[in-house]
Point group: C2
Chain length 213, copies 2
């Protein structure tokens, strides 16, 4: 596995890519790794309140472009990921998750009753707005998992919050699937013309962001 220096080198290597080389595509093996990395992302109670849409269709991407401040990454990247959050994390959903655990672990739903009840209690307490806020934070874990997996595979990425979620939901027909677009991530390879690639990464010094108690 990576040594400490190599890890940090990769975290320094990544940056929010502004210009992608539209001719280069992520290969199937790397794509499968990004997908599996996303699928394995941890989440609160393991509830996975998300869905990941990978947009390759050019026409759809053209439609998304003006809904995304015309950021060219949408159409020029290799694969455009729309990370969606579920709007239906309720008792039925939890029961579906509990069935999945029972299945994955060869145990019974009865044995998982205590865990189920804790989750139902936790989720039921939250008004729906708060529930979506909580679920969206989990989707951001997936975003970081995606960005870092890409960086470690030396694939470029650009996280994107600048888009109209209501319009994405409409164009991508997300509402009827109980989903809403939370954050996007363009994936591919930097163009030699991206002047942002060579800018020094700017971060506050360690003393400002880390302290011990």
């Amino acid at each position: 596995m990576p040594d400490n220096t190599s890890l940090i080198d990769h975290f320094n290597w990544r940056y929010a890519t502004k210009v992608f080389d539209a001719t280069r595509k992520v290969n199937d093996a790397d794509l499968a790794t990004l997908e599996e990395a996303l699928r394995l992302t941890p989440s609160s109670f393991g509830l996975q309140p998300w869905h990941f849409l990978i947009v390759t269709d050019e026409e759809i991407r053209e439609k998304l472009l003006p809904l995304s401040w015309n950021q060219k990454q949408v159409t020029e990247c290799s694969h455009y990921f729309v990370l969606c959050t579920r709007t239906d994390v309720d008792v039925d959903y939890i029961d579906r998750f509990v069935s999945e655990i029972a299945n994955d672990r060869g145990t019974t739903i009865e044995e998982l009753q205590g865990y189920r009840d804790v989750m139902v209690d936790f989720v039921s307490r939250m008004p729906s707005v708060e529930r979506l806020t909580w679920a969206t934070r989990q989707t951001y874990l997936a975003l970081q998992r995606l960005m870092d997996t890409a960086a470690l595979l030396e694939i470029d990425a650009c996280p994107m919050e600048g888009f109209s979620a209501p319009q994405y939901d409409e164009v991508l027909q997300l509402s009827e699937k109980n989903l809403t677009a939370s954050v996007c991530c363009a994936i591919g390879y930097r163009s030699a013309e991206d002047k942002y690639a060579s800018l020094a990464k700017s971060r506050f010094p360690k003393e400002e962001v880390i302290s011990y108690l």
Copy 2:
């Protein structure tokens, strides 16, 4: 760097560690890597609206334990990370960030004026509750960066949302630093007695969480 299989192996290896080996401590080199990985975490506009508190003091940890549903990870892990979100991301803060960029890139504040104005406009539009919600999502990026860096170094971690943030803020005197505790992460090494270590990871199948358009 890691090949695809090794990456996925590490993501499968990690789990939310319930029982830590209280005798094992993360060494200084690995700790420095975790710190630097956190510091380099990407965020919206690069604004880094966070602070990372690493709690090693045993007395403080004992105080946090009952505020954390008595989850023993708080006291038994090697290093207990409290990921805090800034509550003061305002024009002054943005100006401080712009100075940092000017400094890091050897450019002038004047040249960064356009970028500054976009950030000020973005942040000023949000009511303070929404601003904290947005900033907290960034802190979750840092949480995933921390968990995955640990996993790649074969260090165990347990993300923890189950604690009283208002009481943490009081005990850790966070409010006076314009911070609030958003999420925690116990870091260290799994105990041989943690039965959760051998449970199959439960995730929905790929078809349910990933689709192409």
